[in-house]
């Protein structure tokens, strides 16, 4: 048996007494460690989000980007650490937080219309056991309109293209009317029109004073689309305004380990080639 460390029990379960975290921040993460099958995926992550910014999370595959979002939202259990939203635990901040999961995470053959899916964003406002009223359907329809999908409202979701499905997901997030959004790879595999629609929505959300945290893959578009960036590779390599943080040096630190390994592998292949 591993003896329970005394510091763990005395750890405060709020961040109130930690001056480095502010209750103004929509998201404060303190010393968060997450493990899958005992293997750490995120290691002692500290982070404070600046309010009203578009924030990209970038990092190599397996860096724990999705895990970061999911453990903030309590979907993946934390091994250690604390997460607060505006100085509150997730339970109390729930209705102010929106979430766009990866598109592949759901079954698109499910018997619902695009409008039904968007209306799901209203369920928190509707509450348990009540049907979706006309008023909420109207809000959902307006959100569909914002992403240019109003004509497809009554389509079954399997009849939509990948980009259209992503826009439906985005409309659903809008329908949540949250103050902080987490989006897991909304740009993955979408067409140019959808990418523009998503960016328009992100800017609109920022205009309304909201904070959006997006898992992003395309490094080139980071400076164009985002204000701040989190460089993640099992730990936070760097986080802050794109201009200050998004440097060649930091990127190398984030992706570097993998690249070295890859080049080693390439060399091994090359050696074999010579052997043959």
């Amino acid at each position: 048996m591993i003896p329970q460390s005394p510091s763990k029990s005395s750890l405060p379960n709020t961040l109130e007494h930690r001056p480095e975290h502010s209750s103004q921040s929509p998201l404060s993460v303190h010393a968060m460690t997450v493990a899958y099958h005992k293997k750490p995926v995120l290691w002692d992550v500290d982070y404070d989000a600046t309010p009203n910014k578009l924030i990209a999370i970038v990092g190599p595959n397996g860096a724990g980007k999705s895990t970061f979002i999911k453990s903030c939202l309590g979907l993946v259990p934390k091994a250690a650490g604390l997460v607060e939203f505006w100085g509150m635990p997730y339970r109390r901040a729930r209705s102010r937080i929106g979430y766009v999961p990866q598109r592949e995470s759901v079954d698109w053959d499910f018997p619902v219309s695009a409008l039904d899916v968007v209306a799901m964003g209203r369920y928190r406002h509707i509450g348990w056991c009540r049907p979706v009223s006309r008023k909420h359907k109207q809000v959902a329809l307006e959100c569909l309109d914002l992403v240019g999908m109003k004509p497809f409202a009554s389509r079954q979701i399997s009849q939509l293209s990948g980009g259209q499905q992503q826009r439906v997901f985005l409309a659903r997030a809008l329908a949540q009317q949250a103050d902080l959004y987490f989006m897991d790879e909304p740009f993955a595999g979408v067409d140019a029109a959808t990418e523009r629609a998503i960016i328009e929505v992100l800017r609109r959300l920022k205009g309304e004073g909201k904070t959006v945290i997006v898992v992003h893959h395309d490094l080139q578009s980071v400076p164009e689309y985002f204000d701040e960036v989190i460089l993640l590779n099992m730990r936070v390599v760097a986080a802050g305004p794109v201009r200050e943080v998004f440097t060649k040096e930091n990127l190398h630190k984030t992706y570097g380990g993998r690249l070295t390994l890859l080049s080693e592998a390439a060399e091994a292949v090359a050696r074999n080639e010579i052997g043959v």
């Binding site: 309590g74 729930r94 979430y99 499910f110 619902v112 219309s113 979706v132």
Partner: protein, 436 residues
Amino acid sequence: MFFDIGLDLFPLLAAVFAAVSCALLGNFLVLRRLSLMGDAISHSVLPGLVIAFLITSTRSPIAMFAGAAIAGVATVVLVEFVKRFGRVESGAAMGVVFSILFALGVLLIEQAAARHVDLDADCVLHGQLETLVWYSAPDSFGGLFTLQTLQQTPRQVKTLAITLILAIGFVTLLFKELRLAAFDSALATTLGFNATFLHYLLMIFVATATVASFEAVGSILVIAMLICPAAVARLFTDRLGSQIICSVIVALICSIGGYFSATILPSAFGIDAVNAAGAMAMMGGIVLAIAVFVSPSHGVISRVIRRRRLSGRVALDDLLAAIFRATEKGQLQPTRTELQIGFAHANLHRTIQRANHLQLVEPIGTQQVRLTESGMQAASEVVRRHRLWEHYLVEKVGLAPDHVHETAELLEHLPPRPPQGPESDPHGKVIPKGFS
């Protein structure tokens, strides 16, 4: 007689209540790709029942339900456990868990039987619908509406009626939550509708419906009704609400149809009645088989019809284009023989007949044909699309001009319109003006 109240009423009611309850809940199992979970729960409920019986020494419904509900939840937990730590996919995990639990139940029943206890493994499989005979039944339906009827209703039928009401209440009240959790469990949880909680709640209801149905209809019917109606309904609907209603109708067809085909049909042919629950489950299979053929969107027949319609339209388009091209070469009234060359479809004469019927083409004598005014419009539209596609394929896609005809020949019949283009195609032919 067609319907004997004493013989048929209670078995039929029991079957209908059980089938509809299972169908309602089954919709969510099928959508969550947990169809096998119904199978697993209905098998592993057996040891739960026997253990509850061995502990309390009664067959009181409350003890039975507690045993079943605990067994149901235990199954779900065990499946999760095996899946995670046994590193197998969920189908294998369910298979392992329920076969072992069922075996445990059989062993326990034998133990109980050794103590002269009245629990029968046979009735667990196909139920005892036939024992629900009402000896003092009234002669007519008018005599049913008395207090006496309620008093004499067998316990199994009452239990199933309550189960049905519970299932209807559960699915109606939590429709929105169950749909959300089935579609996107992560979002459900972040919104405060805990998907795990809803999952276990659903499993408790499945276990309840299973145990309530056991005595009367047996586990074969339970498994069939959890899956078949929802599977059939999926083929006919594309909204969850209508899918649930459709599954209830299918459950009614299976239970009522199955009951009569088990009792009345055999006697009409002079053979012994067969097991009603078995017949109902068979009915589910038959309905599913029919649905696979006749479903409007996914069915085999509708697919054939759609394909034939499309090929008919393509043949018509090709005929009009062929006459148009002949007209372009100055041959205003091409003969059937001339048209036959390059006409890739089976029946030129029938296509001409159809075009004539639609007043697009008129025959001149027996051999020649000519386009009517509306035929001319339709034909130039087809040729316009063809040549615009050729232009697009050469200019935008970058194919060689001698490579594009086949592709354009296909694309001209399909809904996407080619973008506007110049006045002539890559082969120098004039692109006809559009009429619209």
